[in-house]
Symmetry: C2
Subunit: 477 residues, 2 copies
């Protein structure tokens, strides 16, 4: 997998510069797209020089960096560069790219190219790709595999996204407890290579039931004559395939794990989890939270066609439009008041705005906290009390400031006091809903991040208008 | 570090239940706070039973889980539980908790407790804590350490947050290239234990210049008589202490690294990075982005006193108030128009709202993309074109819908057309600023996430009101 001449980037700036360079070369080569392949030379010497340079760079890149390059190229350049990538690494690149880009790459590949790309994968890898591949390709590959591997692919595919089973792999090295460390070392030497991320060897009994783990760092310093059972660790963090993968990722973070066993209901060792998959989970989870809060369905291919982006965003825009319409009707109900005091129209967005801003601060903080741990009812009550306190302080301070400004602008003490009261009440409303929305979402089994920003803004807009115009109508008219 | 009876949580639900349990016990014990310590029994048998149960649970917990417990307790309960934690693990717990909670714990500890907690740390760990500790304590600990360790602490402390140097550690195992694998194995066996996350041994020459790395997985399968130089990998991802730690974390993700060497300007090996630190970096980075977008200065202790929260949030609330005031003045400028057509007051928040929502979608997507890679000027132009396309489509669709609704409500074709035009224009404005704000922020060296949500909303509010009321004044009056 690693060649002697590989470019590896510890520093993203250099990778970024190379992506720019590749992007320019690819754009310049677009006109001769039809004639381009990794094997042929181009007639025009300038173009050919560019082509050879492009191929040269690509062949020095690690598959993960090829993936980064592809993600950062516009569609046409992406397809051109993909044609020139090393075919033997196609599979690894497909595993590395984001889902959105993966689809666009697979679309350009024919059956033989796809077969070549996936035939050397292990069961976990094939299972990861399988949903994006034509079913026929998957079946064809599986035909050449043995019974056990086929069953493994089946197993992984039977678990849902977000379950441990969907990201586990089967590259397990296991031993018995009653052998000496010397024997283990000799056993390991018989392997061609050990699987990536082998920081521990799993210790099982004759029924494959997990007994413990033998960390390599203990094996290396142990007396060779010592038995495994005297060196191994019995306290093991283990997972079940049905477990939530985000919980597993948190366990990896808390206990600084590199790999961990996955066991079935009978405590039999069936697979393992590795930290590289957990890194992806953590990255994706926090990205998803952020995108969901803003009302984006999922990660977008940055250079997706306009129409794909429209589809990714329309739901929450539609929700927003409905809530904005409601806010508009709230104002409509007070048209009489506004007709009498037009200043109300100018002041009302301030009340709505500060509520939205403050509510977003609260809800963001709570959604973040929930990503790390659930919030119990007792805690929720305590948080609510605290947020109400913060809202009250902010209401008095900022409401006071804006009340004074309004008084000064409109020479009306009434308008000033209505501003103070309305801002404080809307901040309190924002605090209550900022805590309640995510807590209730979680209780009813929804993702607390989902559209939370759109929802809180909806409440503080309609609520703010209602409170402000209502108070004004009561006290100023 | 690991005891035989440790509770380890693969599943967060169980941890959560135990946190609840601890929280209840601690709350019940609060009245006898003054009499509580890990050594004494309480007179009241009920209280004593609770105390012993609490101590029992705490002593079974892994330090990382004690940290999780403390983070989820209100201040008073937190101090009580902290008194009961195993003193020998205090240091590890302090390293695990979030910055905000760490401060609150250190405040409760006297000099001797702090000294006891940190004296067994390694240089990297002490350096991590040093800024939160009283300087006197740090100096006292350092006095007992040897010259080399003192220099290491100095070195780490000399780097800024966000630099590789600030999170590197010195637990390096290194060997020469001209020895056999057998010799390496014998050398390793002389260690009491190997450092955590030792997945590779660093190969250096007589001047400590890095030659390559010997992955343990290769060492274990290698012929014992083979020389290290024939087994080692020469293509190594290496870092400099001045490097950006987020870049390093991305390299760990791309290349699936467990540990990596840190070298100085002369290519001498000085330290290493490990994946557990990188996990923290990734988690913190994405949290920071999310909090910053919403206008929160930093992660809050969930149970911080009200006043601390007010301080954490006031800056962006103040900014929001200024921008809301500007929006209010924009409306104020059109009071004449509103006085004539009061319907304008009811419709204007719809225009502002959809702009804010759509702008937040764009800016969130771009801030996310920037977290993974910079966006070049060419890419920014391409993104701008795409976002303008999306805005145009959305403007025509949603503007059309709302235009029709407004026409139907107010029986005025003019109002309908003004809605269509204003919504489309505000969506286009949101698209332009949604791309420009983060790109410009990055260009001038600011964090693109910082308050971006507040800023885009400010623009789409003022802009939306101006566009809508301006068009209405021009065409409807």
């Amino acid at each position: 997998m690693e060649s002697q001449t590989e470019r590896l980037y510890g520093d993203t700036t250099q990778l970024q510069a190379d992506i720019e360079h590749i992007s320019r070369l690819a754009a310049q080569l677009l006109p001769c797209y039809a004639d381009i392949s990794a094997e042929h030379t181009l007639e025009n010497p300038h173009d050919n020089a560019r082509l050879q340079m492009l191929i040269g760079i690509l062949h020095e890149l690690h598959p993960a960096d090829v993936a980064a390059v592809l993600e950062n190229l516009p569609q046409k350049e992406r397809v051109l560069v993909w044609k020139l990538a090393i075919p033997e690494e196609d599979g690894e690149v497909l595993l590395e790219v984001s889902d959105a880009v993966r689809e666009s790459l697979i679309e350009t590949m024919n059956r033989d190219e796809l077969l070549a790309a996936v035939e050397d994968m292990d069961a976990g890898e094939l299972a990861e790709l399988a949903d994006d591949l034509p079913e026929q390709v998957v079946e064809e590959v599986l035909q050449d595999w043995d019974e056990e591997e086929r069953a493994q692919v089946e197993t992984v595919r039977s678990y849902k996204d977000g379950q441990v089973g969907a990201v586990m792999d089967f590259e397990i090295v296991s031993i018995r407890a009653d052998v000496s460390c010397e024997v283990v070392l000799r056993y390991l030497r018989r392997f061609e290579t050990l699987p990536d991320h082998t920081d521990k060897i799993f210790v099982v009994d004759e029924d494959d039931v997990l007994q413990g783990v033998l960390p390599i760092r203990k094996l290396l310093v142990a007396d060779p004559d010592e038995l495994v059972e005297n060196v191994m660790t019995r306290d093991v963090v283990k997972f079940r395939p049905e477990d939530d993968v985000e919980d597993a990722a948190q366990a990896f973070e808390r206990y600084d794990l590199i790999s961990a066993p996955v066991i079935d209901a009978d405590k039999k060792l069936i697979a393992r989890l590795t930290v590289d998959e957990m890194l992806d989970v953590i990255r994706e989870e926090s990205e998803a939270d952020m995108l969901n809060m803003a009302g984006l369905k999922e990660e977008e291919d940055l250079f997706a066609p306009v129409w794909d982006s429209v589809k990714n965003r329309w739901v929450w825009l539609a929700v927003n439009l409905v809530t904005a319409f409601i806010a508009s009707r709230v104002i409509g109900a007070f048209e009489q008041s506004i007709a009498q005091i037009v200043a109300l129209a100018a002041l009302m967005p301030i009340v709505a705005g500060i509520g939205g801003n403050s509510g977003n601060q609260t809800i963001t903080m709570i959604v973040r906290a929930m990503a790390n741990a659930q919030i119990s009812t007792t805690q929720a009550m305590r948080l609510l009390k605290k947020e109400l306190g913060v809202a009250l302080v902010n209401g008095v301070i900022w409401g006071g400031v804006m009340g004074a400004v309004s008084y000064w602008m409109y020479h009306s003490a009434g308008i000033g006091w209505v501003m103070v009261a309305a801002m404080t009440l809307n901040l309190l409303l924002a605090a209550v809903l900022g805590v309640l929305i995510p807590v209730v979402m979680e209780k009813i089994g929804r993702d607390p991040a989902l559209g939370s920003s759109v929802l809180i803004t909806a409440v503080t807009d309609s609520g703010g208008f209602l409170i402000f115009l209502g108070l004004a109508t009561m006290f100023l008219l």
